[in-house]
Subunit: 193 residues, 2 copies
């Protein structure tokens, strides 16, 4: 069955998020994204009148929303077990992609668009980071951490996972991720007990 | 005094590192870098026959060497005080650049070159991360941490500082960096005591 035309915009945004995660912001092209989404190029330009920058911002938000929904689901089991599951997903994603898949939100945060200013994707990344921090912080408070400590730990978790994923992609080795994950889990369990 | 022609290659590599830190790998152009370095474009192509990818790899290595030399100097004062000084430098760099200056090594780690495969800059980033991990790990061992814990903490420090810098650039706010820095310093001091 060929993909439905009415779903094309959603497929295009999802394909953009995946390309953003793998090659980065400036290397993501509307043409390649449309092709991956099996959407006609003209339809993509029609649905995203703001062009590539609008699409990148939408992709960043979509990726952020998906991770946030996953975190909400996993953290319902408790901060420690939820974080462990979440880290396990990231670990599998790195290994399954042979370290090609990174975080689209990080790409949006650090790259300056060649042909646009300011970066709408960067603003979307800021909103995503804030949402993730809130989500993790709330779960840590529920697990018994003091609010200020929980907020700080939430930031440390996001920052160190982002950095570890980048280190794994550079070194083509899962070891940096495993070292970081073990320490984050110890931190969450230690203070929550 | 106009810049010396014999220094041009070094100036070009330094300018490439700075542009890589600010806009990323694919947005860095040989033309802009040569201009910033006050080097003739023809001379840049002559000195870097491998073109942009060779220049990006050299820039990544230069940036890594500079940070490594700074770490060596600061950590000679002890792991805790050295890390504190190092984090203070990063903090100032973020604020002074209004969050425009990031880490060139991270950019090299996560972006896939539009027009080259594999990425020589990515390989250079892998070597840089390994060198920084060794440097920090050695200092932590000297401060009394057990070798395995020291190695893991070194990775966590690099990963979380990289991630925190990216979060600050997205949010245009120093708060994520400060939250991460406080926890890293507590970790280093706590276990070293």
């Amino acid at each position: 069955m060929s993909p439905r035309a009415t779903d094309a915009p959603q497929r295009v945004v999802a394909a953009a998020a995946e390309m953003l995660a793998r090659v980065g912001l400036n290397a993501t092209s509307i043409r390649e994204v449309s092709k991956a989404a099996q959407a006609p190029l003209g339809s993509t330009y029609h649905h995203f009148p703001g062009g590539k920058q609008e699409l990148l911002a939408r992709a960043t938000t979509l990726a952020g929303d998906r991770v946030d929904a996953l975190l909400a689901r996993l953290l319902a089991e408790g901060a420690g077990p939820g974080l462990q599951q979440f880290l396990q997903r990231w670990r599998e994603r790195l290994l399954d992609s042979r370290f090609e898949a990174g975080c689209p939100v990080l790409a949006a945060a650090v790259e300056v668009p060649v042909d646009a200013h300011p970066s709408a994707a960067r603003d979307a990344a800021a909103a995503v980071f804030a949402r993730w921090e809130q989500r993790l912080g709330d779960a840590l408070v529920q697990a018994g951490h003091a609010p200020a400590a929980a907020a700080a730990q939430a930031t440390l978790i996001i920052a160190s996972v982002e950095g570890a994923v980048a280190m794994c992609r550079a070194t083509q080795d899962i070891a940096p991720f495993d070292r970081v994950a073990a320490q984050l889990l110890a931190m969450v369990e230690h203070r929550a007990s």
